[in-house]
Symmetry: C3
Subunit: 462 residues, 3 copies
């Protein structure tokens, strides 16, 4: 199921180079600076649940594909606190596993099935029960507990993504424990920065209560954000993350920003004012990053909850988020004109719009000292997508304005698979440069190491 | 002129896989669910006309390229009921045949020249007359009549594209004949749905007359459309087709829709109201599809008749239609929020904007159960274009949210060539997945068969 | 440092074809119809300055990358009339040369270092001084003077880019000299056509003074432009060039154009009116091209001076120009509807937005007789960018609606390297078509020669 040459170039020369490059980096530790695992797994260290919950219910890559082919979400246990009949859901998954041919999801799953659970035949109706039973049995063993897997995976550092309202108790508990695993939070202020976020007004009030600041005033609100960033930093946080609908930034005068905030907290703001507020906040947060050194990640361009009925029935993150066109050149200019040349600032840009790679992102990152390019993201962190990222950005931005790989996942068991895919694709890209004599092989080894390990630590200040 | 390995990957391993895959599917019947052939050819079964009329005058791929290099359309017989001097036009074509190097048009033509007419040297001034005489001679033979070619091509079903005002007499006549060829109509209501269509008001009135409904009222108009769909279905129709300038859809209240229709039939509607009407009609037609089971095809994004002088002199379809950017995410949302989760509905999306493949179309089709992706279309149903379609859609939507190949052609003789190119490209793509160990070869065989034959029948309910 | 097979395909068969194709064209003369070299170099024929000035200070590809990684521009001598410590700047460059891995800049530089200066080890801190001393020494030799290099490079014709306000004294002096090198001007009227250009009003007045026309009136202004074009043509000019922010064109009535001009010269025009004036001027200039036969080049889509602080401190062309989305389909229509079918007109389109290749530019150029596609430009004249240009345009526009390569450079020493990269990429693309049997090898040889030499001379009327 897992050939040792998978994802390497087809021609013999390049394949041989890719093999040699990969051999040098496959054993490097995993640095995962951006993801959505749950700190509680590592504080509590309880066994993972049954296979259906673990691999289907928690992975929107999996259930969105099944849903697209007419499988009702209810039959997959979506929306259920506990899947009623995990084996039935698993069998349904197995019947439809052929749908994933050609997708990265299948590569990640096969990797976990084979490497972790020792399963060697592809998942199908015939093997469904054997899979289920094997996984259940293994998950019960101590070496499949979260901390043991963390160590087995060779993870050097793992960042979660956290609300400013999160007390980070599990992070505290991890640090208080004797366990040496480095799990750190990321400051993701969307719930208190995006007026369209569910419960925004209440969130802002809660932020005030948590920080003992009057967040109904602009200055109190900003102070509350600063204090919360400090609290995160004490628990190892080195980065912030911002998931806005667009890349819009603004650079209002202090008084205009204050008036806008008043309008926002009044609940009377128009759609345009809300967008302007998000835009202004990116610039305010950049100012804070200049002060406190937190690295900024901007993840724009998802149309959230596109499928209204699914959202109403099942809530967020149900596979209905769809990418949109994103304009970085005009949208980022206010922030960049204010802070783009600041020596201490790092802003990592992500995109769901691949057309921006060569047209906007690589030219911007190839000029502004504060900018770095995040890796191919979400729909695009796949073999073809990762390869396109390199093909479309390297010639203008080089390798050294990029920051290694982000797995960006809730699916903890897929982390080694995802990094492995990224490393293989990078080695294949580099092998091609070696074979057509754009790079010497010894330089390529150095670049491969930088892309797998060094650049991510440098960019995220880890 | 036609190497048996054409379009297969260059490296030896992948090429060998591609050969084996192709051997398994090359003989499968052709299913052509979307095209622009003329039912009269198969009802009348008369010989095709001279080579210039057949290959130049009727193929805008051919004459647009010649025109782009300064060949006057008049010299190619464009706009003439009957080409005055077909041999002169043919010689002019032969002189300029080098212009088609690297284009799919040349591949399709070479295939027909070689496979059908036994011509083995490339078309050039030196071979022009031999080509002309050979083709004239062969076209006169009984085995070159439309029905004989239909059978020789191995066509299982061929769909035409038809106006709701068309009495479909030729379709009736085909069904009434003893000939077994399956030629079916497609319901393309643009002439009565698009207020900018030539003669729209008259068309709506004619629709009323044909159906004995009062199409000056909203309800009568909708009933007339339903009745016409029924009439089409009785002649084998399984699908509708909608060629709108954008992908805009709307979901107005019944009364708002009724008022809008009144404004439209008054002839006083603004450009925005016309666009809104087209948008609303896509949703109305989706509602009808939910009822009667006709599969919907949406083909948006062509700027029609861009070259005004050519349009004024020669009319529509003269090579002056140019693709534009298309936004599926926002535009389709009203329709999808209304009917996107309907189990019985199938909507097949096409695009002329390749940037939408990975950003919009694959994510949408990888989530909504009603959506499927039509193949690379028009300017993009070429070797590079078909390959990009797979590279950009498979990882997010998989193979099973796609529907096989559409030849979309008026050029009947090019049908086998076009399907052959698509099959070869799919086999090459699959071969690459096999060679880099993303797919087993036996799975790839199954996928190749699905892409060539099974999926199109399933999606179009054939 | 320079392998003879560089940039050729990886598989053995295609590589062998590429080698054979390249062998046929590598010795063809260089035709450089669009660039930014300085005519003074060839009139004065003085030695080039020190290595840092030559390779760093004058090449924004180089210093933008260094700046993006935190190297202060001041340390590279940017903004200094004469670099204070060229050796220090050079060492800093050498330390950071690894940043250029995978970029075309490195390929171009390595080519010059190796082919011109005989340097064989890659630039690094260890080799920095040897590089510096070797280059200094060689630059002092007579065979490194501009005219000698022009001849050594095998340049048949070299076009500069010139303001209508330039008296073209150096061009006159070259023609008056006994030197046979063909260096010709290009008419680039942006300074007197773009109301947002620095000093626009003064420029228009100067244009009047130079031509003895009253450029405060619309008719006088147009006459002044016509007279200036004539003056350029007398010095060998065959083309104009237009670097507008968008591709917008307009087709106003004579009186509306006249009123708009009055508003523009009054200095009271709005941003929209300025954009409309640029748009109208493209159509006016097309009219002049129909009359006088100058080939029009349109280079739209750069957001100039995106980084305000750098612009304020160092001025234009400091690496802060960023591509933007460009819409050719709607924007060019007014011009094309007016002059698109004119037999005598040639308009060459360039883009910084690769998404327009297959969606807009190839369909437009594959239809309108006046249109040709300029090669991959600026950020995209790189191995991957040049290959994408062919992959995305050939199937719709063919090879013969393209015009060969433009080096578009200020870096005179990089000209042979840039043409060499373009020729190698074209041979690799053609080799692929030969290997997968889309083209015969003898046809591919002809196409390779056309792309390297014949088409550029034909399109630019050289």
């Amino acid at each position: 199921m897992l050939h040792s040459d998978r994802l390497f170039p087809a021609d013999a020369d390049s394949r041989a180079v890719a093999r040699r490059l990969y051999a040098k980096i496959k054993g490097l530790p995993i640095v995962s600076p951006h993801g959505h695992t749950d700190a509680q797994w590592f504080s509590g260290n309880q066994p993972f649940p049954d296979p259906a919950t673990l691999f289907i219910q928690r992975d929107h890559y999996v259930f969105r594909m099944l849903y697209s082919q007419g499988v009702p979400l209810e039959k997959l246990g979506i929306g259920q606190a506990r899947i009623e009949d995990p084996r039935a859901a698993w069998r349904l998954f197995a019947e439809n596993y052929y749908l994933f041919r050609g997708t990265p999801t299948r590569m990640w799953l096969n990797f976990a099935f084979h490497e972790l659970f020792g399963l060697e035949q592809i998942l199908s109706p015939a093997t469904a029960d054997r899979y289920f039973d094997t996984i259940v049995e293994k998950l019960a063993a101590p070496e499949f507990r979260p901390r043991a897997l963390f160590e087995r995976f060779g993870i050097e550092v793992l960042a979660t993504t956290d609300s400013p309202l999160d007390p980070l108790l599990h992070h505290q508990s991890i640090r208080a424990s004797r366990w040496q695993g480095r799990v750190i939070p990321t400051f993701r202020p969307d719930p208190v920065v995006d007026p369209d976020f569910d419960g925004f007004a209440k969130n802002v009030a809660t932020l005030g209560a948590l920080t003992k600041e009057d967040t109904s005033t602009w200055k109190g609100y900003l102070r509350a954000l600063r204090l919360t960033r400090e609290r995160f930093q004490k628990l190892g946080c080195t980065a912030t993350d911002h998931g806005h609908p667009t890349a819009a930034t603004a650079d209002l005068s202090a008084s205009a920003a204050e008036s806008l905030f008043a309008k926002i907290v009044s609940g009377q703001a128009s759609a345009e004012e809300k967008e302007l507020f998000r835009a202004q906040m990116l610039t305010e947060l950049a100012a804070m990053s200049v002060e406190d050194g937190l690295v900024m990640q901007i993840h724009p361009g998802a149309f959230r909850n596109h499928n209204q009925k699914i959202y109403q029935k099942f809530g967020r993150d149900m596979g209905g988020d769809i990418p949109t066109r994103t304009d970085y050149v005009h949208d980022l200019r206010p922030l960049l004109n204010r802070y783009g040349n600041e020596p201490g600032l790092t802003v990592i840009l992500f995109t769901l719009d691949e057309t921006s790679y060569s047209r906007e992102l690589a030219p911007l990152a190839g000029h502004y000292p504060c900018l770095r390019l995040g890796p191919a993201w979400w729909f695009h962190d796949s073999p073809e997508g990762l390869m396109r990222f390199r093909e479309y950005t390297t010639e203008t931005a080089g390798f050294y304005n990029t920051v290694g790989f982000n797995d960006d996942t809730r699916a903890f068991l897929s982390i080694p698979a995802r990094h492995d895919v990224a490393r293989r694709v990078d080695c294949s890209f580099l092998a091609r440069l070696v074979t057509d004599h754009r790079l010497d092989e010894e330089e390529a080894v150095e670049v491969a190491q930088d892309l797998s390990y060094r650049l991510v630590k440098q960019a995220y200040r880890l």
